[in-house]
Symmetry: C2
Subunit: 266 residues, 2 copies
DNA sequence: AATCGTTAAATGGTTAGACCTTTAAGTACG
DNA sequence: CGTACTTAAAGGTCTAACCATTTAACGATT
């Protein structure tokens, strides 16, 4: 191969601090921090990159895998390894939080509470900053909810999209990411609840209240409306959960590589 | 070796969905979800576990590495691989968020805003639920701040501990984890700001206001006090940043394996 | 007998090379 | 011009070693 301008890949010195693979991770991280690697970029082939960094291929792969696990890199067999390209809103992998929830026995109440806190914050910010387009999207989703009162699955689609639109309107991608992270974990729960929900109409109404508060640029009202909506949703879920008694069991089995379970995108 | 009761490790069938290593990850995740693996547990040696799962050692290592990257497992050479034991509050690795921040160019303003939202939520909950012990700890840290007005570094230690105590008092470990995640990233920034802060006294006062609101079980006051405190801190940082003009440069080089930069524990 | 130093086994970390599977691009054929 | 086949490239997996570190057992010394 021709020797490219690969000065950006510095050979790893043996005077490293930790293990070799950790050093590889640091190298790649620094390249991302510095901007040498940008979203969508493709990394050199593993065999070449391993030589450039002065490590073996398995060691390089170990580093790549670590970064892939946190959602920064993505490898596709036959194609190459790429820096993750964020089409829509940046998304943090929710599986770490999911694992931690299992590990420490987080209660659903905590999850709901965290989601409520995040959604309230996001709604308040959205009320301050939402653009006309964003408000139009919200109105559209609310309309979609009212149009899907007899189709719970479709209703949930509009529900999710509404919340994501509000999050986007907040203008804070970090809060949006965190909210999605928590919401994704609760999604499995929600889909069960909404399936026999008899009061989709009330839910749609509450969403409309949120929308109206945002449209009126009233942060406090938006926060309260959102809070009321989620409190109601939580109560509905709790009633459902109690009804199903201890049947419960496996709420997981959502084991698709990364933890981005449901289609939360467009 | 004797064949233990290792029925919990099911051999991976070739009728797997994705790649082999992904299947290994799913296996381990399920074992954690099911509770077969608990915090502090040690996994079988790689060579044995690879045989039990019916995969090669590199493949098994790939799976382990993925879970280690998200903070669920921890390998120590010579000792073994363990399920992470949470001493204090469960902690999410902040490096994913840090990388995403670099990747998408998150502004510090967004970071501050996210932190403010989380801290406000946490303060409000703490006002509702803080126990006597927790309030005593808060008071202690506030006292420590007033006692360290001439020692910025020591002041920051009390500052961090105060916020963590409040988070713990919120009773919501998810919000606490998310807050720590964001706060960790901002820590490097904070240490620079506080070092020449001339108004540590004012900062201490504001912390005391937060404490008093929590002591009085006044969530709204606690939220406002916390908000005011963080707004002030952000303004101080912005002034500092503007003063330092474009000097900025590398705010990274925090490359210790995991991204838990500062000592936030004790 | 108790303690400390040495040694050996266990365990994760790394390397090497080969082969397989998938992807994507190039090329020939219709 | 477009489709289908071929082929090179790239990641995924495997085997088989060897290295580095940690732990624990063992024995010599006090």
């Amino acid at each position: 191969m021709t020797d490219l301008n690969n000065d950006i890949f510095k050979t790893i010195d043996p005077d490293r601090r930790g293990t070799t693979s950790e050093e590889v991770i640091s190298q790649l991280r620094e390249m991302i921090h510095r901007g040498d690697l940008r979203p969508g970029d493709r990394l050199p082939p593993e065999r070449d990159l391993a030589k450039l960094l002065g490590v073996s291929r398995p060691t390089l792969r170990a580093g790549i895998r670590s970064l892939a696990a946190v959602g920064v890199l993505q490898s596709r067999q036959g194609a190459g390894t790429f820096v993750v390209k964020a089409d829509g809103p940046p998304s943090l992998d929710s599986s770490p939080l999911r694992l931690m929830a299992s590990l420490h026995g987080f209660t659903s109440a905590e999850m709901f509470e965290a989601r409520q806190a995040l959604e309230m914050a996001v709604a308040g910010l959205a009320a301050e900053r939402a653009t006309g387009d964003q408000m139009a999207s919200m109105a559209e989703e609310v309309t979609g909810m009212f149009a899907s009162l007899n189709d719970p699955e479709q209703f949930l689609v509009h529900d999710v999209r509404f919340h994501q639109t509000v999050a986007a309107a907040s203008g804070n991608r970090i809060l949006t990411s965190l909210m999605n992270m928590v919401a994704t974990i609760l999604f499995d729960t929600r889909i069960k609840t909404v399936k026999r929900a008899t009061d989709l109409k009330e839910s749609a109404e509450m969403h409309r209240h949120v929308y109206r508060a945002i449209r009126e640029h009233d942060p406090e009202a938006a926060r309260h409306a959102m809070s009321a909506h989620l409190s109601k949703a939580q109560r509905a879920w709790e009633a459902e959960a109690q009804e199903t008694s201890e049947a419960g069991g496996d709420d997981s089995n959502n084991s698709d590589g990364n933890g981005n379970g449901a289609g939360l995108a467009p």
